[in-house]
């Protein structure tokens, strides 16, 4: 007998696939034990794959897949909410349904709760005002700045919107420049265009 015999017992190829299966069973077991604080799930949409982050309180974040921002976002969730983060289709299904309905052009508002624990300070006021902009309408950075009582803070408003952890649901895509220019979007200007087309603000290209 030599040491390689023992290594062979572990079966390298099999443990890779078996460990993946076992890891896949963990989220449900964790949920049963009350240990799944943050469920993460993927959703496909007309503006690309989305990552949704759902806690017991509600939707805490949406990230555009393929975004470098994704890792940074999950690290923030780990620090500011809980590091008990696991992929869980079950935990994210209710939000998947509402978002699917939104993209299928029927739903004009979201009913499930959101978790605002990733939103702090002035961003909280900015995003609250932003949430009031109805489906199919737009507002401007300056108008939001005025509403939160800092009329000259349009830039800070822009930054708060750029750091919006729950895009689409907190509709930062409905905020544009005073000149009518779309200016920017954390998920890329193309996505902002698609969302405004979906809501009928822009004519489909």
């Amino acid at each position: 007998m030599n040491r390689n015999d023992l290594k062979r017992l572990a079966g390298k190829a099999e443990t890779e696939s078996r460990s993946r299966t076992a890891a896949g069973a963990l989220p449900d077991a964790a949920a049963t034990e009350g240990l799944l604080d943050v469920a993460v799930g993927g959703i496909s949409s007309p503006i690309g794959d989305l990552l949704v982050v759902v806690t017991a309180r509600g939707l805490a974040a949406i990230a555009f897949e393929g975004d470098e921002y994704r890792d940074e976002l999950l690290a923030r969730v780990a620090r500011q909410i809980s590091p008990r983060i696991l992929p869980s289709p079950k935990g994210t299904d209710p939000w998947r349904r509402e978002l699917d309905e939104y993209f299928a052009a029927g739903r004009t508002g979201f009913e499930l709760p959101v978790d605002r624990r990733l939103i702090h300070g002035i961003a909280s006021d900015v995003l609250k005002q932003t949430s009031k902009i109805p489906y199919g309408e737009v507002s401007t950075y300056g108008a939001i700045a005025k509403k939160i009582g800092h009329p000259s803070a349009a830039r800070a408003v822009g930054r708060a919107l750029g750091a919006n952890p729950i895009p689409i649901v907190i509709p930062c895509h409905r905020v544009i420049g005073a000149s009518g220019a779309l200016t920017g979007y954390a998920g890329g200007i193309d996505r902002k265009v698609r969302l405004l087309e979906l809501e009928g603000v822009l004519a489909p290209t």
Binding site: L6, R8, L9, A10, R159
Partner: protein
């Protein structure tokens, strides 16, 4: 007007944890833990011990000490689970239980079956130490840390285990 200090506000948020998202930690360590458990408790029980190991880790995860090496932390938990698994087995075994199957029948000594039979005869701590040393290639100081023992005890467990395996498998 000066820009309102969003960054300053964010830095005041209480930092509750410095560990990575659990899913990243699981992905980085699952294969090693599974390899360890496959030999340490056997393929039939590896799945159960794997779930128990990572559920224990998940329970304690928000309180992991800053600076802890997570790859070693999870193997410490897995080592404990493997040893507990064998001990609870031994306790629940009936005194009239059959001796290990195939113990007296002739088998091809080079087959995995013979090696598995030999591995099953090892006492839990020897078996776990042997797996750390010869499946995962860990150093003795590290094995001592993983098993909460002295380095001398780790060396003794490995050498006694290997000696016994060599007696059973030629």
């Amino acid at each position: 007007m000066a820009a309102v200090g969003l960054a300053a506000v964010e830095s005041e948020v209480a930092v509750s944890s410095t560990v990575p998202p659990f899913q990243d930690f699981l992905e980085a360590n699952r294969a090693t833990v599974y390899r360890f458990l496959t030999v340490a408790v056997g393929p039939a029980d590896a799945d159960d011990c794997f779930q128990e190991t990572f559920l224990s880790a998940l329970r304690a995860y928000p309180r992991v000490t800053r600076g802890e090496r997570l790859d070693r932390w999870i193997l410490r938990i897995a080592s404990r689970k493997a040893i507990d698994h064998h001990r609870s087995r031994a306790r629940s075994a009936l005194p009239t239980a059959e001796p290990p199957e195939r113990a007296t029948t002739t088998v091809d000594p080079t087959s995995d079956d013979a090696l598995w039979d030999a591995v099953r005869t090892l006492p839990p701590r020897q078996r776990v130490a042997v797996v750390h040393r010869h499946v995962l290639d860990r150093s003795y100081p590290e094995i001592a840390e993983l098993m909460g023992s002295t380095e001398e005890a780790a060396r003794a467990n490995v050498s006694q285990g290997i000696k016994k395996l060599r007696e059973l498998i030629r």
